[in-house]
Symmetry: D2
Subunit: 448 residues, 4 copies
């Protein structure tokens, strides 16, 4: 999971600041590193570092990124090591001149592509897919960059939403299945691209539409032009964007994430009639689904768990002696709300199960009489190879245990997952064409 | 508003780490600076800096703070300039040996005390009340530190909750009215003091009781001892702690902050019958009251505003050209939830009115048909001199405008404040003895 | 050893930058911490930190120190711990208003003064003599600051050269014996004070004269005024300033440090006729004396040891395995110059002997046939209590060993110290009234 | 000008620390950026940043660079921009596995090579020659890395001394003319490579020999092997290494830099009989030649100029108002030594003339009666394309002005350059085969 931004401001000269705001709104998509590249029409300037957008960029830094075109990236390490060398965007000199590229998604054949390219002479300084894409672009025998990008994207296997920049133009492109999102926004005098529509709101841009699967947008001196290079119109957006990734105020493929999560909660309430006193969300990702559940079931909703908002990235771990004391760093229970109550705990998903087990234990220690875990998605049984870091099948609790065994490991009084059909209903038309490989094992792009 | 911590761990040697965790749980009480002082039995070690607890302290820093006793402080600048010189705790050498002190609250006669002390020979390196208290302690002619502290605290005018430390003991003391909170917790093998009970949970400590108004606790080699030096038993805790300051999972004077806020919301729903489609909280401080309102009124609750969790302290301000674009940094509306709806917006309080006006405008721009602002406290008409930075009466919108004028400035379709009686009802018995000067102008400690 | 600066620029407004340049020129007198305080006529601004002047201050920092009056300090820890709390100048509010003070020197009765002051109510936040002086000033019952300073300085025991600043005036004052140096310089439109005249050259100021022992200079709206508060005219400048502390381009008490060191070297050549091929200085402090020795003796001078100019303050120490490899961090020998030669090594002084032993071994390993150590000062046999950190008599090699034993420990083929009479001759008239306690044990201010 | 290090320690595991020490000794060859790559046998670890070696690396950083093989680099920007992206060594994945490379020198056909490579598909992330060399290696169709390196080095035009590293071996290679230096050292159990022999002393290694022009050394599991891939035995080391670059304690091609500079000074004294009172060096680069001049001429030598040792990299520039005051940042004159004297100022070279003019003025202001500038090298009339940043011919004062005009611009009473024959004599046999293009315009590698 990563986030990308693109900005084209013909009449103005502060692309860096607007790119910064866009990245800031996408911070939830990646907190490891961030970067911005801008162009003043001829010279490209770049800055990248490990850390949060608001930590890395200040007025002084932005002032050293002059220009009217910009792209940006926030990174959540999916492939490649955690190191500044892997921060994006990458900026290279090539036969097509200076090119910068920011990538959200994962190639499924990165390893073999890299090996082939090395065998035919390429060298790699990073461990990112992004460098592979740029290497292919550099080698593409095309009359111009746009055609080089198209010919490369036709060959890539996997998920990608890219913002690409040269000295005088901005390109946005999405993979033929549209697994990763990308939206187009409009300013009075310019255009912006962003992984999610919530960034348009922050940037003061008006939502225009999603970039379509297999579409390339080119924004340059001669305006905005659209090209289709692949795909068949059917969109296969990652359904997990609705479950967890996207910010609730985003609209993806015409669906409000907030309302989709409300619908998921309501669907859960219809699927499971649990006798309980209270619906409590796991903060923050379970909140909207829990609200939907409470509304549909009529069971009162309360914020029984308070999340500390100041958790830093490199938070000091308590020593074992302190763990034995029962210190609680991230989540604290609201005792008087929970004591003696039968609690329905709503979480967005259960991947490895360790966090859920901790949360259930926390509720019990605070006095909950019963804890029923209700999960706002189906069992997560297969790794994602298109942009999420869920390592291997062995680590997925639902892939290796029966429902009863998962419930026992987590320590809940009951465990209820959303049905796949329920998820389809909540997401609405087209949901059955979306990428749901993590729940079904049906990989739309074959894994190599 | 500030937060203080005290830790006494006779059998262990990592007071710094536990103090750190306590401060981390109190971070909402002050984000400007923080500091920790520890004792290994003879030597005291200190570290203070500007910034968040999780930014300032890491394993290396904590390792340089050895010892089994510790006090800590998070500061939200109330008096004194924003500078590291004013960070707390202060550590001094005095006739009573090494003494460190952390202070939450404000003295009302700080200026005259400082002038008198200077006239009689004292010098001051900071602009904090804390240095005044330590100067008085140094000059107190008493047989020991405890009696010096008592004699000084009898003379202080204002609000104070202090943690004080020497090489071998920890002291907690609260002003005779108990305006600022302080609680006592117990570990298997030790004691902790904290401004709020939520820190006890994070530190793995069991809640024992509030330190009482006019009480001094001394924790040392001969255990825990309690002394009363003033006050008449009646507690006058700041009622604004329930409205805004305290974390919802804290319990102050036996009342759950979360449940008090629910009751405030319910009381509001009883006081005002507004025809509306939706109750929306101003994040995060209005959330629990809004839930209470929705429960009582039956009007649906939704999170119509999403707060960006990554706002840094020194966030870059957008240029005017960007403000004109309508960029939204901290709050983003959830359009599909709000469009065409009559919305009740619940906020905890309205002080200057500027934030409320922005929020109302945001909801309107997102399509809300009506916006009714309901405030979870009475009109804020007088400055606080006991620890909150609300400058002067001129800046308080309700002190200088009629209800209708405030409503117009804020741009709401209606404006409803909680009645003082309603606040009393929601807070419960004793509320009418609490400090409510900001709502009534009745200052319990005369202002000098 | 520390350095102080004072700047008074009536018609200009950048005292910070000129103070910075002055401190930069005095960096050799202290590398631990540094600080600047300025006044814009009413408000005083301060910044202090651990580290070198050129590391701590940049354009941004200096811009936050507005004003036309400034004082500064570079600190080499003599008393007090290595901590930013002990960085100078100290800035306090007192009965005389805002006062900032920078101190070079040591009080001999600091401990008893501090204890007495604590007993009568004072508290101390630092472990510096500076805070003691300011505490005494605050308590002095005088009609104004100048008279308070005078009355305090009359009572102080020890060495001090102070720059003091208020909102509108600058004070320079030297102890009655003049143990630590302080000079006055003139700008077209203003005055400067500095520990050494080399700083005047860097600041573009013209040398006027030394501040005299027992003299206080007050520079304010009504110009420059001089007052004598003590002393009898006889100056007892620390003779070690000529041997080691001062920069060679400084002139102290009318004597050029460079020429004094040349004279010391020549005197050594007259005192000892050593048959040798080469005179080699220990860099950098032995260079000028070595030149003087070579000129007088006719023995060729060569730079047989090269010093690495990039040694940082917190240089990584090599592991023991590397020490065994014989790694050489600070000094490297010039093999072809040394091989087979009888070498006279000139060093400024021998305090503990460890550095000398290493240097002698380095020369031998590089092939020197003989190494004769000639020391440009008499045996260092007593600690300095007036501003130099030479701990205790036990650590002084010459205080505890015969000449032969020192020579053996150091591993030299011969060892020759400058005679006390020789030092007097080289320094010239008045040398016998100077402070030479480290060589003679005759302390001019009794140690308490 | 840059510096490179290589370390191979079969039995040990702290290559990073030894590489650090080697770089530290080469710091004079480049202060802009530095970097280290190490191998633990399979995994390579890298760290690079802007700044001095002792600032960038500390114990924590070195601990994250495990392994027994290491290469390092200090950079003085010659080609490429000042940015961390251009810091070396570069580490890439290629058909030959992981390869890291550090480069001292410049290719003369970098621009055309880069363009050709881009045209055939390569992309470039940096603006360094180093990336070009690695790109060529990646594309070389060879059975192994060593042969790929050889085939590439045969085609490179320009100067290069490289240290190259894989998971299990270290390679050192020098261009066929040997323009840039590289030496081999031996440890009890391992080998080191360094740009200059002074680093061997710091690393505790024994000097073995220079790597020869056109020689590749491969140090791996099967020991040290030497291969010749080009050149004809004649070495054409850059003669400016003796004049200025190298540290005086280094030995290059069997000649001591210190003794060569002494010989240069003596030769100057034979070439010019100037009537003067004093020989004064421009610190630090003119010191040894000045000593040689003084010894031969019999004119007394004195350090008439003192250099501030604490000049930081980003030193604050004085405002114009201060320049008008005559502030002196880097150099301060020793007035009493200079006053009324006829001074011979010895500097290593005159490139643009601005520094010399300032130094002459400084001496005059300090009272020198006459200033005769004697330059320890011939007129510098052509740019270097092999590794030194002397921009363009227009900026070289001697290329565009007569001797008399240069003298006048510099403001000296006389100006004397070393003759080319004199330089040959001082350097000794083979000097006439060395690269002296900057003095003669005879470029040994044609410029493209």
């Amino acid at each position: 999971m990563c986030g990308v931004i693109g900005v084209f401001l013909p009449g103005q000269m502060d692309a860096a600041r607007l790119t910064f705001l866009g990245l800031y709104a996408l911070q939830h998509r990646g907190q490891e590193s961030c970067g911005i590249v801008t162009s003043d029409g001829s010279r490209l300037s770049a800055y990248k570092d490990m850390g949060l957008v608001a930590e890395i960029f200040d007025d002084e830094r932005l002032a050293r990124l002059p220009g009217r075109i910009g792209i940006g990236h926030v990174r959540y390490s999916t492939t490649g090591e955690s190191s500044v060398i892997n921060a994006q965007p990458l900026l290279v000199r090539s036969r097509y001149g200076l090119v910068a590229l920011a990538h959200n998604g994962n190639l499924v054949n990165a390893r073999s592509l890299s090996a082939e390219l090395q065998a035919s002479g390429a060298i790699f300084q990073t461990t990112t897919d992004t460098e592979i894409i740029l290497t292919l672009i550099g080698r593409a025998d095309a009359p111009n960059l746009e055609q080089a990008v198209v010919s490369v994207c036709r060959e890539l296997k996997g998920a990608f939403a890219l913002t690409i920049m040269t000295a005088d133009r901005l390109i946005g492109i999405r993979d033929p299945l549209g697994i990763r999102p990308l939206v187009l926004g409009k300013l009075a005098d310019g255009f912006v691209l962003a992984s999610e529509s919530c960034a348009l709101s922050t940037m003061g841009a008006e939502f225009v539409r999603d970039v379509l699967p297999g579409e390339m947008l080119v924004i340059g001196p001669d305006g905005l032009n659209s090209y289709y290079y692949g795909g068949h119109g059917a969109e296969s957006l990652c359904i997990f964007e609705y479950v967890y990734f996207a910010r609730p105020d985003s609209i993806l493929s015409g669906r409000s994430v907030y309302q989709t999560r409300l619908a998921i909660g309501a669907q859960l309430a219809r699927e499971y009639q649990i006798t309980a006193d209270l619906v409590v969300p796991a903060p923050d990702s379970g909140v909207v689904a829990a609200l939907g559940f409470a509304k549909e079931s009529g069971i009162p909703f309360d914020l029984g768990l308070i999340k500390n908002r100041y958790v830093g990235r490199t938070f000091i771990q308590p020593a074992q002696s302190m763990r034995d004391l029962g210190v609680k760093i991230k989540l604290n229970p609201v005792g008087p709300v929970l004591a003696g109550k039968k609690v329905i705990l709503i979480d967005d998903s259960v991947v490895r199960g360790t966090t859920s087990a901790k949360t259930v234990r926390l509720l019990r220690e605070a006095g909950a009489a019963e804890v029923h875990l209700v999960v706002a998605s189906p069992p997560y049984i297969r790794p994602c190879y298109y942009g999420i870091d869920t390592s291997s099948t062995e680590q997925l609790i639902a892939a290796n245990n029966s429902l009863a065994a998962v419930q026992e490991k987590i320590g809940a009084d009951s465990l209820s997952y959303l049905s796949l059909e329920g998820l389809h209903k909540a997401v609405g038309s087209g949901a059955n064409r979306m990428c749901r490989a993590c729940f079904t094992g049906e990989y739309l792009v074959p894994i190599q």
